[in-house]
Subunit: 204 residues, 2 copies
Amino acid sequence: MSAVSCTAAVGRPRAFDMQTALEKALDVFWTKGYDGASLSDLTSAMGINKPSLYSAFGNKEQLFLKAIEFYENRPCSFFKPALEQPTAYQVAETMLIGAAKNMSDASHPQGCVMVQGALACSEAASGVKEVLTQRRQKSEEDLRERLELAIAQKDLPSDTDAAALSRYLCTVINGIAIQASSGATEAQLVEVANMALASFPKGE
Amino acid sequence: MSAVSCTAAVGRPRAFDMQTALEKALDVFWTKGYDGASLSDLTSAMGINKPSLYSAFGNKEQLFLKAIEFYENRPCSFFKPALEQPTAYQVAETMLIGAAKNMSDASHPQGCVMVQGALACSEAASGVKEVLTQRRQKSEEDLRERLELAIAQKDLPSDTDAAALSRYLCTVINGIAIQASSGATEAQLVEVANMALASFPKGE
DNA sequence: GGGGTTATATACTCTTTAGTACAATACAGA
DNA sequence: TCTGTATTGTACTAAAGAGTATATAACCCC
């Protein structure tokens, strides 16, 4: 009985890589949304069959939640790293330009799974819709806190409304997600990002 | 054989109002999306049963298309009327503030059915997704043409990029749709709309 | 090499899906 | 009132949905 529950090396070994399979599942949910993705879609994309999916990931809902968890922590994720830029303007710029580039990137589905994964959906998907909404709101709050820090550091005017500015930036990012999902090019979206940055308050 | 094909008054008369039923169907699609809306959801909301739905509207896809047609032409629609404002700035302002107010209005589902009706969806919904994308692009083009007119009228600087400006405004409107769908209040969205208007080019 | 354990593949369950057949019903015109 | 036509309600179909039972296969440890 080992104290550390390291991946039990007993029994038949799993014949697929969970990370890879999760990535494939993410692509399906990203493209089709939670309601639009059937288990057949998922298993055939993941290259496994249903019992393997269920034993490895629980069920459709848990698979979705693990897929978006993976999505948020991918190395090419743009939101969290942007918060670490030195100035508020650079945070906004990195975030918007990052969104424009990432969401139109042809190496994965267009748009943002946090937006289009379950926007309008059946009752069966209401749980995941709730989670997505909360995650988006959490991002908006994280950005607000970063902007409040910038105000405290005199990097932004003291009368800046951090909540409103954060909401504005997140609104544009969400809009970019829709445009990307509709086929907008990277150049078009970067242009939109720069226009949105034009109204960013000047530091003093 | 009358020349005008007025509603044939032969046979058993329809027991429900098609307009009202269509409005109910719209609400279902608006809330649940095309994939998430089942025929049971639709018929129970519309207060009719399946054969009536099929004989009156064709099938699920045609019902959806008629529902969004109705949506676009409703009196409380905000996009088309905004294009008729006298100045480009007023067009943008009317459109953004209208979007903010309309999409958070509690008298119908939040957000925009043209955005959330079929954003990421199954193959069965790919036809309606295509239509929605085209309609959104058409709106963007209509706005671009209105802005080009403004440039010709010296209402906007001659070096204004009408396509980019139109895309920017539509991006914000789409973002507002997401925020509204996530529960943002009218006040919050109007604030976002005003921030977006801050970067609108000044007339000369 | 055998025993315990876990994954795999096939084949199944039950529910819900979109869509329809058909008999009964309600109206207009003759 | 009779006839033709179109809608209605009930009951149905065939396919697809999510999820599972079971037998077999592959590994580690003893």
